[in-house]
Symmetry: C2
Subunit: 408 residues, 2 copies
């Protein structure tokens, strides 16, 4: 358990916490035969309908499950259950794909005895492959809320090598509130949502409209700040459910502790986002880019994304090469303007570049630093107070290996 | 020799043609000790001052040699010689770097007995490394115009595996006109100039202002349509010299055969650009993306660059995986809007996707096609008459290998 104190609020990270940790949620998964052996279907259930909000891929091709989940939430701004399948992304599958997504939603609702529109659906896997409907039907029929056959966190993975989950606890109105989350995502990860599914639950009571605004703001600073390979998938989605069982007064921007809730949501989303970056396909290192001194936050964000998105920066980190020129170069083609003579750059605390010029540094020390699993690249612009952080991973042989033969 | 007839003009591709092929040019290279053994300095010389124009990187950090070459051309819109060095990019080298570039320009001018401002300089290599001035001086002193020690095309290479050059010949005003070119570039290749140096010469007489416009228009459709890894370097430059020794009437947009000259220039630049894409770091295949039916040419260009820039498309081609979903996905996140239900996609003549839906295709046939060295991806939008072509290469283990240890 780790405690953090921010704005007089104490945030406790719950050991092994996840999307099933807040009050009133049940989660699980099972093997339904989409994959050879591994669990391939997951579900989240709330004892009561929960305020729900989502953010979705910006890709023009938007997969069927996203369209159906949007329709579910549009009905009443509530969800009570989420069904996730792997192997087929149910994307570019035409009307049949949309019909299939609606049918699985209906089967799930019937199985749980709730209304159709209280079910959200999510898919990840190969684009263009229709859902194996017989397996989906059989799988849904097998769901036992109290006796899951596999952990949800594991059942939603594809090329991920690790489960990704966490939960934090804090007080609102004197009540313990918990926010938990789990996600999957490994390749096709890039700002503006990627083949990335994120599920966040809380037992806090939150007004749905403001839950949506908070989610959007937080996702922009967390999930949308990670990149693995610059590809934005058709299936990305982050959903948040707030079922109110913590018995706090409903949260909205007017509530004095609203910033505490938003901070908790950010901690969960940032933690999940970093797990995804660190588990990027083939990754051996988590890269954190910290931009400061930009003319404003937006400019800092654009520059941070340009650096973290550079294949040459990523391969240099993989090779433990303190090639600051590639970082500088990525800043220069970001599209943002700044005075190149004021730019400085460091790897952790090792300054490599100062006021537009290289600095003599200890190569051995830099290599030692780059051999670690967490690499922090700091870019300082000396223009103003704008700052931003972005996360990514190194580009390795294994990235190529994994993606050269994904379908086979 | 290959003949092409366009607009009643016949273009002959000259066997083994290069930047030294047009009348009145001498080119060469030599080993001056920057690299261990390989030639590392190259030069181009025209018997008479030539109309000159250049296009330069859009990176905010613009290397010293680009600034100096711009200053040279600004003087009189003419160049008579170009000096190229490898190993040091002379970028992010501050005032010393600029002073050094001016000094090498002066040395070269003195050695050739011409004015300083008739010399252009170009560098490629590691960013932040100052020029080894003693070696540069000694190297320039050793230049013998009539007895080059190495071919220019070879002396400008870094991680390139092949020399890249060609020349075409056609008639203007009844005179034979030749355009030749050579280039280097392998990694950090992306639209808007990359670590790419292109040198084009012609014996045609061309008005300098219009030479510049023609170069800009042609580069936008050729060099700026290739990508290897999405990184735009600080040193990219394409220079064109036109020395007038073909004795045609000076070409400008008013000349009836202006389109013939521009077409010839495009053929040379397109050929060089494709050589670069095919020789991308670690590449095993040339990928050509043909977008058609877009709402306009600009839209087609954006979509073509999005597809050719996708790491997932590039790894799929490397793995001979007919993963059309990744192509569709890259179209969807290009930022351009179109009706996804009208989109079709083919690999060569094998249609994989039609009107927004996957098509049953012969996987064996697709794998066989993808095993070839030239892969054409066709994306058809059914919206209008906009079209564009872009070139790139597959993403392989060797790309990672080369870039994980570039400096060592």
């Amino acid at each position: 358990m780790e405690e953090t104190m921010i704005n007089h609020a104490t945030f406790i990270q719950i050991e092994d916490g996840s999307v099933g940790t807040p009050k009133g949620y049940k989660t699980g998964g099972q093997h339904i035969g989409l994959r050879t052996k591994l669990p391939d279907m997951g579900w989240i259930y709330s004892e009561v309908p929960a305020s729900a909000a989502g953010v979705y891929t910006t890709n023009l091709f938007q997969a069927a499950p996203l369209q159906v989940t949007k329709a579910s939430i549009a009905e009443q701004q509530k969800l009570q259950a989420i069904l996730v399948n792997t192997v087929s992304a149910n994307s570019c599958t035409g009307q049949q794909g949309i019909d299939n997504a609606y049918t699985t939603r209906k089967w799930m609702a019937e199985h749980l005895g709730i209304s159709d529109h209280l079910v959200g659906v999510a898919s990840t896997g190969v684009i263009g492959l229709q859902l194996a409907m017989d397996k989906m039907k059989h799988g849904i029929d097998q769901i036992t809320l109290d006796l899951p056959k596999a952990p949800f966190e594991k059942a939603i993975l594809t090329t991920d090598t690790k489960t990704k989950h966490l939960a934090v606890q804090f007080e609102i109105d004197g009540q313990n509130v918990t926010i938990g989350g789990a996600c999957k995502g490994s390749g096709m990860i890039h700002p503006n949502m990627a083949t990335m599914l994120g599920f966040v639950t809380t037992d806090a009571a939150v007004e749905p409209d403001e839950l949506k605004q908070a989610l959007k703001a937080v996702v922009d600073k967390t999930f949308n700040r990670i990149t693995v390979d610059g590809d934005t998938s058709t299936n990305d989605m982050v959903l948040v459910l707030a079922n109110g069982l913590a018995a706090n007064k409903p949260l909205s921007a007017q509530h004095p502790q609203w910033p505490v809730f938003v901070k908790g949501l950010e901690m969960v989303c940032q933690g999940l986002a970093k797990y995804i970056a660190a588990d990027g396909e083939g990754a051996t290192k988590l890269i954190e880019v910290q931009v400061s001194g930009a003319k404003d936050d937006h400019s800092a964000e654009v520059i941070s994304k340009s650096i973290i998105g550079s294949s040459l920066v990523k391969t240099a980190v993989f090779g433990s090469d303190a090639n600051w020129g590639r970082v500088i170069c990525a800043m220069g083609y970001s599209g943002e303007s700044f005075d190149t003579n004021k730019v400085s750059m460091a790897l952790g605390d090792i300054v490599l570049f100062q006021n537009g010029m290289p600095v003599d540094f200890d190569e051995e020390q830099a290599i030692k630093y780059l051999n670690g699993h967490n690499v922090v690249i700091k870019a300082m612009l000396g223009e103003g107070n704008g700052k931003a952080v972005a996360w990514g991973c190194d580009l390795t042989y294994n990235y190529v290996k994994i993606n050269a033969s994904y379908r086979s």
